[in-house]
Structures are given as C-alpha cells and as structure tokens.
C-alpha cells in the first residue's frame, strides 16, 4: 500500500455506522488467541540464570555490576578452591525479587560461565519470601536444563580482553646492551590498563604477600599514583623490584585472564613506583612508623628481600634493627642474580634506600660466622633472623665437570653484577631450563655480542619445552635474542682437550625424567646423542644455601629436614631466638621472600610483646 492509497479521514468527516459493521467478517476468521501450550522463548531470551559451575571461578564480577544488588556470592562447600589459580568456592545466588534481567552480569562475566536461559516461569509455593533467592547451576534454578538464552557473545562482551601495549626494544637492539627491555607505561597507558580491572581480588589472594593490587590498580585508574604507592608499601617494600621481576602470580590468577590477557599488574606497580619521586616514596613508606623506640634489638643476617622486608617491618615497629650483609651492596640475589636488563641497579638502590630510611642499619662486608659469630648475635640481640638465600650453585657432577671452562651460573652472574670481568666464550653451552639458565644465557649473549659481534649459545635442559621452569616470556625472549634452546636433553659428559679445557658437552635425548614412583631418575635414548661444541659450559640446575655460618654447635642444635633448615608456620626455627626466612627455607622468588619477611617480623613482634608481658 503506498502513501497515496492510504485513505485520509477528514476531521469533519462524520463517520458512519456501516463501516464498523464491515468487521463482522472477523466472525468467520480463525481466532488469533494464543494456544495454551507453553510458548518457547526466543533464542536471545533473558530468562532465569544458568551458571556453569565448572567454568565459574567465583570472582564476583557479576555481583559488582548488578544494578539492583540482586546477586550475592555464597560459599558452596565441596567446590574446589585454589587461590594460586584464581578459583574460589563462591557462586552467585540471585534474588529474583530484585533481578531485572538486564544481563549485564552475563556481558561482564570474565569467564563466560553465567548466562540467562529461556526459562521464564517460576511459581513460588513456599510462604517464605526467600524462596525467590536461588543458586543457579548449569541446570538453572529448577534443575531443568533449559537452553541458553542471552549468553556470552563477542558482540555484547564487555570484558576488556587486550592488554595495553608498551614500548619494547627489538631483539636485535636489546641484545647489544644491558639496557632495560620494556619501557614501562606512560600515565595514559597506565590509566587505560588499570581501567580493565574488574576488582575481583583474585590477585590479592594469589600473591604470596597478599599485595593490595585491586586497591593500587584502582588508585592508578583515578590517576593517584601516590595512593597506589601507599597501597603497595602496605605489603611490599621491594616495590621497584617486584614491579619489574616479580613472578606475578597475581596475573596467573587474574579473572580477566581466563578469556583474555590478564591485567598487567606487575607493570602497573612499576608505573606507580616510577611515577612518584624517591623522596616522596620514603615519606609514604614511613607514614605508619611508630615513633617511640621499643628498646629491642634485632639482628638480621642477609640483606636480601626476606631479610630487608623483615627489617623494614621491625624498624617501623620501632625496634633497633641491624642487618649484616657479606657483600658490598644490599639486595641479595636480586642484585647478584638478576641481570640489569631485567632490573636496573638504580631501581634496586631506590628500594633499599626506602628501607634504610625507616631506620634499618645495614652493615656491609660483614660475614657472620667469620667477622661476627652467631653466639655474639644471640647474646647481643633480642632476636636473630637468618635469611642468607641460596648462593651455592649445584653441579651436574657429570664426567668432566671439573674441567677448566665449566662454571656455575650464579657465580658468573655475581661476578658480572660486582663489576668483575669474566671470560667471554666464543661458544657457550648452558645446562638448565629455569630462570637462572635464561638469565645467564641472555647475559652471555649480550657479552658475546659486545665482544665477538655474534651470539653463539646453546641451552640444553632435561625438561621438554612445555615443562620448563622458566617464565614463558623469558624463554621466548631468549630465543629471540639468538639463544638456541634444545629441550629434553640430558648432560652426559663435558668433553675436554689435552690441556683440560672444556670443548663441548655430550647430551642424550631424555625419554623420561621421573620413575613410576615420581622419583628423579632420568632415562635416556642412547641412540640420540649430540655433542654441543663450546669453550664454556655453564651449569644452572639449582642452588643451595651456605649454612657454614651457623657453626657446628648450632647446626647440631637445629632441626633439619632433607638438608633444609626446619621452621614452624611462623618461620621460627627449633631454637627460640632464631628465625629463618627467604629462599633458604622456601622456593626461590622475590615475592615469596618478601612474604616470609613480613611473617618473620610479625612473629618476632608477637614474641617480643609476649616476653614483655611475661616479664
């Protein structure tokens, strides 16, 4: 029907009585009344909720975006709970007296577990009002698995999946120097990246020291870097360090990471620290320092992350804290193990300076055991913390490993950090698949590039590539920088020339690493043999602690478990004045050491206050 044909009715037209009667014809037509059988809802229908409990991680983002506060997260006993993987046993329960079926919970769900179904009938027979409060699972609220209606869809997905990119040096450029590889965020990038966060707090739960990541990310989003620094210093005085080299377990747990890239929490921390002046950081760090001296003295052995974190906390509690450090600078393995392209020394200096500014006294070049004895410490101090890390590199002890030109990775890294020259090989072979192996490979690559103009490094490891202990990005970047990575190869023999100098490494293909009982017992394929040529062989297969400082009597008195110092949940040893923390009692990473430092400090504080009350 066109415009012209549509009849106009004049306002003056009086109408008639016959026209309405024309519609009597409808008596002869089939009625349009809906049939009584249930009508299926449309494919997009926004009916009652479905929630796939397998996919749901209990992040509570649905609860946050709910317009009407209809969603409550309830604990479901029996469901898996794993903070390290970002899984809680909470699931959303919905108050259908409040729900408005807007489906924002669906569009913002990071995992895509929640959806609305095509179910739309609920009759409440229960006089209790809370029968409208229900916990949907993948079978909905009535146990009848209706089809999905409004579910996760690329078009309506409101989760921000892509990370904000930052400037990064190209592999060719970075292998030529020890300059830091990534440039860090600028203010605008930091706000954009921070805005991706859904504030679920999985990062906080997963972090060994439970950093207030949601809070500092929020502060950065508001453009308040000082507040972010304040939140960071509540739990971590190694802020610059962790902002650069942390193993970022927060990002593994990040709920946005389930379907996209996790929030760059580590880089945001780095941005916050870089954005605030060192002097201001010191003021912020000292804000909650107690002012009246406690009169207690505490000795800490080792100025690494664990020792200095404990020192930081104890100094803020107004104890007199003295740290004994064998080396000429503080930072422990973060200084002597991590290459500058990952953690520039001046940033570590900044962290140490903040710790010193709250009243920590560090005595350098003092080796406990030789310069000062444990007995002296015990007598002069109210408590002693030992946090000496893992400084002795382990050897493969394969045939020929005593040859000239075979080194331990930690020793080489320490030499370089101390500014000493090391022999730069024309061709190097690295044994190991962890982060230390990557660090030494990439460091040698830089030195080779500087000295010989080309990189010639082969890295061999027992594990296959999927089971390397190193961070995936380290493996990727090492490969980009020219390191040849050979996985599943077991070292058999270091070959040497007539003068006893190493000339290469013979390896066999690994067919399995562990036996049926899970014990370390590598098996090899004898037919697959390679000789990797190299004038330097570096072993990077693990470290152990140097505990000679304890002395015979104390070593005898202390309890040990498989060569490691035994500690209780509060990291106190079997001797009541001695605590132990950091790598020497736990796995090697900075943030765990920081967590240990806090734990030790809290335990010592408690011990001292109990002793005071008892006195």
């Amino acid at each position: 029907m066109s415009d012209e044909k549509y009849e106009t009715i004049d306002h003056k037209d009086p109408g008639g009585i016959l026209a309405p009667l024309k519609n009597l014809q409808f008596f002869g037509r089939k009625p349009v009344t809906e049939p009584l059988e249930p009508r299926p809802a449309s494919a997009n229908y926004r009916g009652f909720h479905l929630n796939d409990w397998e996919a749901c991680v209990g992040c509570s983002t649905c609860q946050k975006v709910c317009d009407n506060a209809a969603i409550t997260m309830v604990e479901v006993p029996g469901l898996p709970e794993d903070p390290a993987k970002g899984i809680r046993n909470l699931r959303p329960a919905i108050d259908y007296g409040r729900c408005c079926w807007c489906a924002l919970c669906v569009d913002l769900c990071p995992t895509g577990s929640i959806s609305l179904s095509r179910e739309y009938v609920h009759t409440c027979t229960d006089p209790e009002l809370d029968s409208y409060f229900m916990l949907p699972d993948s079978n909905g609220i009535h146990g009848v698995a209706y089809d999905k209606g409004w579910a996760k869809h690329d078009e309506s997905d409101m989760v921000s999946h892509d990370r904000t990119r930052m400037a990064e040096m190209a592999p060719e450029a970075r292998v030529g120097s020890f300059a830091e590889i990534v440039a860090g965020y600028d203010a605008n990038q930091a706000i954009i990246e921070a805005s991706r966060c859904v504030q679920c707090g999985m990062c906080h739960d997963a972090c060994p020291t439970h950093m207030h990541a949601p809070e500092y990310i929020r502060a950065l989003w508001r453009g308040d870097a000082e507040e972010a620094v304040r939140e960071i210093y509540r739990t971590n005085p190694f802020a610059h360090t962790c902002g650069r080299v942390c193993t970022h377990r927060c990002e593994i747990a990040c709920s946005v990471g389930h379907r996209g890239e996790p929030i760059a929490i580590r880089w945001l921390k780095r941005y916050a620290m870089d954005a605030v002046s060192p002097e201001r950081v010191k003021q912020i760090a000292a804000e909650d320092k107690q002012t009246s001296p406690s009169g207690k003295k505490i000795a800490i052995i080792g100025a690494g992350p664990a020792g200095l974190t404990a020192a930081f906390d104890l100094a803020k509690a107004s104890h007199e804290v003295k740290v004994f450090e064998a080396m000429g600078a503080a930072g422990g393995m973060t200084r002597y193990g991590i290459p500058y392209y990952r953690l520039p020394a001046d940033k570590l200096d900044d962290d140490v300076a903040v710790i010193q500014s709250v009243g920590v006294d560090i005595q350098y070049n003092t080796r406990v055991g030789s310069d000062i004895s444990m007995d002296q410490l015990r007598d002069e101090y109210d408590a002693v913390v030992i946090a000496v890390g893992l400084w002795i590199g382990r050897s493969t002890r394969v045939k020929g490993s005593d040859a000239d030109g075979v080194y331990r990775a930690v020793n080489l890294l320490r030499q370089i950090a101390d500014g000493n020259r090391i022999p730069v090989p024309r061709r190097a072979v690295i044994i190991g698949g962890g982060n230390v192996a990557m660090d030494i490979s990439r460091t040698l690559a830089r030195l080779q590039k500087q000295k010989h103009g080309k990189v010639a490094i082969t890295l061999t490891a027992l594990e296959d590539l999927d089971h390397f202990l190193a961070d995936p990005e380290e493996i990727k970047e090492a490969g980009e920088e020219g390191v040849e990575i050979l996985d599943a190869r077991g070292p058999q023999e270091v070959l040497k020339d007539s003068r006893g100098r190493a000339t290469g490494l013979r390896t066999l293909k690994v067919s399995s690493i562990f036996d049926e009982k899970g014990r370390f017992a590598p098996k090899y394929d004898e037919t697959d043999e390679i000789v990797h040529e190299g004038d330097m062989i570096v072993e990077a297969i693990g470290q152990s602690a140097d505990v000679n400082l304890l002395g015979e009597a104390l070593t005898e008195e202390l309890e040990w478990v498989r060569g490691r110092l035994s500690v209780d949940d509060n990291l106190r040893t079997s001797v009541d004045w001695l605590w132990a923390a950091g790598d020497m009692v736990r796995g090697p990473d900075v943030v765990s050491a920081v967590a240990d430092g806090h734990k030790v400090a809290a335990s010592i504080n408690e011990h001292l206050s109990i002793r005071e009350k008892a006195a």
Binding site: I9, N44, D67, W101, Q199
Partner: protein, 380 residues
Amino acid sequence: MRPENYEAQRQPPSHEYELNIGPNHPGIEGNYAFKLRLHGDRVIEGRADAGYLHRGFEKLMEGRLWIQNLAITPRICVPDPVPMEVSYCLAVEDLCGLEVPKRAQYLRVLQLELSRLASHLFTFGGHAATTGMYSPSFWGVADRDLILDLFEELCGGRVYHIYNIPGGVRRDAPAGWIERVSDTVDYLETRLPDYDNLLFKNQVFVKRARDIGIISQEQALDWAVTGPNLRATGLAFDVRRDDPYLVYDELDFDIPTEHAGDAWARALVRRKELFESIKIVRQVLAKLTDIHGPIRCPIPNPLAWNVPAGSTFTRVESSKGELSWYVVSNGGERPYRTHVRGPSQMHAVQVLERLAVGARIEDVAQIMFSLDACPPEVDR
C-alpha cells in the same frame, strides 16, 4: 439553647461534589489519580494527584554506574521505553565523544519506530476503550504483541529491552529478524483499514471524540504541549525533522498534522503516524541489508568508567512528545545529576487540569487517554 458564637460549618454548595478518579482507572496507562469537583455532570475543577509510581529514578541514577543506569531508563516509560534508552545513551555518548556506528544508528531508529508503533496501537486502543469500545483495544494490544515478539527476538526482553548501550547497541539483529520485521509491518499495514472501519470511520467514536478537550495552538505552546498533541493543533513540529538525531535526516517521512486540537484530531494524528512509522521502518530495513559493520564502538570497562565532566541536553521524539535528558557529569563513575524532561508531565498535569474544566464527567477519561500521558514518567 444555641450559643451566641454558633455558626454552621461552611459546606460546599449542595449541588457540588468531589469525585476521585484513580489511581486505578481506564483513563491512563498506569496508576494516576485525578480529583474532580463536579457540578452535576460538569467538571468545575480537576486536580492531578501524581506520585503513585514515584521511584525516584533521577536520584537513583546518581548512585549507580553509568552502565547500570541502562536498566533504569526503560522503566521511566513502560509503553514506549526505547526513546528513554536511546536518549540516555545519546547523552552519555555526547559527554564521552563516542561515535555510534552507522548500523547501530539504523538499528536504533528501527527500534524507536517499532516502539512508536507499539505505543500508538496501545494508545488508540485505550482511547477507544474510554468511549466504551473494547474491540480496538483488544486488537491494538494483540497487534502490539507482535512487535513485542520482535523485540524479544532482538534483545531477549519484550518490554524492558535494555538493548541500547552508550556507543551503540548490545548485539546485532539475529538472522532472519529483518525479514520478520518486514513481514510484521506488512501485516500491520493490512490491519490499518480494519482499524479505520472499526474506529476511525465509526460514527460513535467520531461523535464522542470531536470537540472534546480542545487545545488551541497558542495554548499548546503556552502549556508546553509537544508531540502528536501539539501537531493536532496544526503546528508541524517534530524533533525527528526539526532537530534530527541519529539518521532521521537520511529518511523520508511526513509530519502529519490536524488543526482542531481536540481528542479526535489527536487520534487522527496518531492514526497517520502509524503509517509514517511503517514507511520509516521499511526504509531502515532496506538500509540495514546494505550497511554492515560494527554495532557499537568500544567503551571502557563499565566498572571503571569515568565519563568526562560536563553537561549535555539531548532530545528525541517519543510517541508521546518531546523527550529530553539533561545529564551532568563531574567526571566520575556515576552521573552527578540526571533530569528527564518527558512530555507526559506537561500533558498529565497542567494540560489535563485545564482541559478537564467544563468537560462532562464521561469525557474525562477520554481526554486523559487522548493526551497519551504516561504516569511512571510523570512521577519518575
């Protein structure tokens, strides 16, 4: 014995009486009371008594995130929710400088016109019912349901669509939906002569509606009358044409007017607008088959979204008249202030109170419905 200061209590003259219409009654699409003082069958005074649907939307919105307010907006006017959603989104987009993709703009126009069709079907059915004719209201509601089916298919919600978001729409139209919209408007068009026969050519209705509730053009402008009620006084003003938004300037449609300004003229304008809306829908459907691409522009994470500080005023033409939003942001995650200036408040309070005076009691409900006011929007 009679005390000296005795005086009989003053009562209204015995021929006057008061009558409460509402809050539930056939004159309006919701709960709304109208208090009348009558002399015989003539209204001497009418007093609007609003507030039964007051939920404080504007204040609520200040406490919610920008995205969360999407669920509130359609509730401000239940029979015609799309203009509420769209105009709120236009306001946020204006503050943020977001550019809505072309396809989304067409999808929005399509929804707006479908919503107008649904609302008009509802209104003239209701108008007829106030004159004692119920068939048009049954037909109107049944045919409106076909449009609600289309909305259900598009966005999963029949009445509260919550389909528009700042930056565009939440999803593209499902497969085959365009064809079904086309079929539905074809069907609706075949229904127009039936409606004409049943209602608009019906002497009973014409006689009842003519010369009832007359608004002159001067009065209309003085009383802030907009929409079909204004166009029924002879002024061809329509925001879609006179201050175009979205893609209305790319579409061809007429602005129907009448001159008498009475209930009958208002009904005739709406009757003609049904046809104009069908015309627009057809043009949009043709465009949608050609225009592809994104249906929304990227927006920040809704949980961390600061809308830049500033204020904005947006207006659209709803089925009931000019609907505008004034939205103020202080740069925060929530609106600092929102204000809805809808057409119904004018029509249901100041206009209705004046039109009722002198009317006969049986025409009051008709006057109300012919103004097509929406109580939840009056109360907000």
